[in-house]
Structure formats: structure tokens, C-alpha cells
Symmetry: C2
Subunit: 124 residues, 2 copies
């Protein structure tokens, strides 16, 4: 009953449900950074930032390496893709309500012109 992928989705979405962690993601998208570097633009303590990074790490959104005393944090875009993959399952399905579908239309070319979808897929 427990989909093992569920917990990872839980952690990932929860990790992004915090503006500080989203800012950390944004910063890491420009390259790896240490805890001190990440903590600098925030008013919160370094320990608090370290906890945020732990949350991101448990969600597998970032990884940490070693460099002498420093522990540089790297963004792992693969997990971000898992989130968009989940969302993309649903953001299109009710055709009466969508808006800008540009990117998705090509990946749904097989399903064009219909509004019924008998997908027996039951994720999360």
C-alpha cells in the first residue's frame, strides 16, 4: 500500500514549501556553495541553514561533497524533474480549464482530440 516513491515526493514538495529553501535552490542553480555562503543572505543562523540543507538533502534535491573543511552543496536537477513529471500528469487532464499548454502538447500528441482517457495509472 505504501508506494516507496511517495515518501520522496513528500519530502521534495515539503522541501520546496519554504521560501528560504527555494532561495537556496535558486542560489545553487548558479553553482555549488558552502553553508556559510548560503547563510549569508539570510538573517537566520548558520545552524538553521544547515537544517534547511538537510531537508533538501533528504529530499535528494541537493548533494554534499567534501572539500577540506568545507561541505559544498550541489543542486541535483534530477529530482526537480521528478516533481514536474508528477505535476504534468494532472495539469492537463481537464481540458475545459487549461490555459498555456505549449510545452506539454508535444508530449501528449498521441492523446490529441480526445477528452476521455482511460489511464489506469494510479500514482501516489
Amino acid at each position: 500500500m505504501d508506494d516507496p516513491g511517495d515518501e520522496l515526493l513528500d519530502r521534495a514538495f515539503l522541501a520546496l514549501a519554504d521560501p528560504a529553501r527555494r532561495r537556496i535552490i535558486a542560489r545553487l542553480s548558479r553553482g555549488p556553495a558552502t553553508v556559510n555562503e548560503l547563510a549569508e543572505p539570510f538573517e537566520i543562523s548558520k545552524q538553521a541553514v544547515s537544517k534547511h540543507i538537510q531537508v533538501l538533502e533528504q529530499a535528494q534535491l541537493v548533494t554534499r561533497t567534501r572539500d577540506a573543511q568545507r561541505r559544498p552543496v550541489h543542486l541535483d536537477p534530477a529530482r526537480l524533474e521528478a516533481l514536474t513529471a508528477w505535476i504534468d500528469q494532472y495539469r492537463l487532464v481537464r481540458e475545459g480549464q487549461f490555459r498555456s499548454l505549449d510545452a506539454v502538447l508535444k508530449s501528449l500528441a498521441a492523446d490529441s482530440g480526445k477528452q476521455s482517457h482511460e489511464s489506469a495509472k494510479d500514482p501516489s
Copy 2:
């Protein structure tokens, strides 16, 4: 300093960070449903499901209408798109680290001009 759109992102990601609410989203992607219908596959009480729907509603992921005593819940895909829009800002940026891009490549067909420059500013 605080982006007002931030709070909506907070709520939306937090709303999705729960398997029950993701199942509700999945169910609603197949059409509107009442609270009782949504509560049926769960073991939790109807009140708990009602709370979940409130969370989704505050995140503007769903809307509620009125039909006699029933209050059918509808999925609002627009907000899901806002989430993918946020993620898409970052999921590709570090070219040296990506992994499986299969699904993404087609949606980036128009973006073919961008490629990597090897870590120009990063001491390793």
C-alpha cells in the same frame, strides 16, 4: 524583499507534500467530486478530508462550487502550471550535473542554443 507570490508557492508546495492531497488531486483530474466521494477511498474521516480540501483551496489548486447541498470540488490546473514554471527555472541550469532529461528535451526543442560553459567561476 518578500515576494508576495511567495506565499502562494508556499501553500501550493505544502499542499502537494501530502500523499492524501496528491491522491485528491489525482482523483479530481478525472472530474469534479464531492467531499464524500473524495473521502471514500481513505480511512480517515470526512472532516479530515474537508480540511485537506481547504488546504488545496487556499493554495488555489482547487475551487468549490455549489450544487444543492453538495459542494463539488474542481481541479484548477492553472496553479499547477505555476509550480512547474517555478521548477523549470532551475531544473536545467547546471548542465554538468543533469541525468535523465528524456521528457524535458522535447519541451526544450526551442531552446537549443544554450549549452554549457565549464565552471568558469568555481574553484573546485
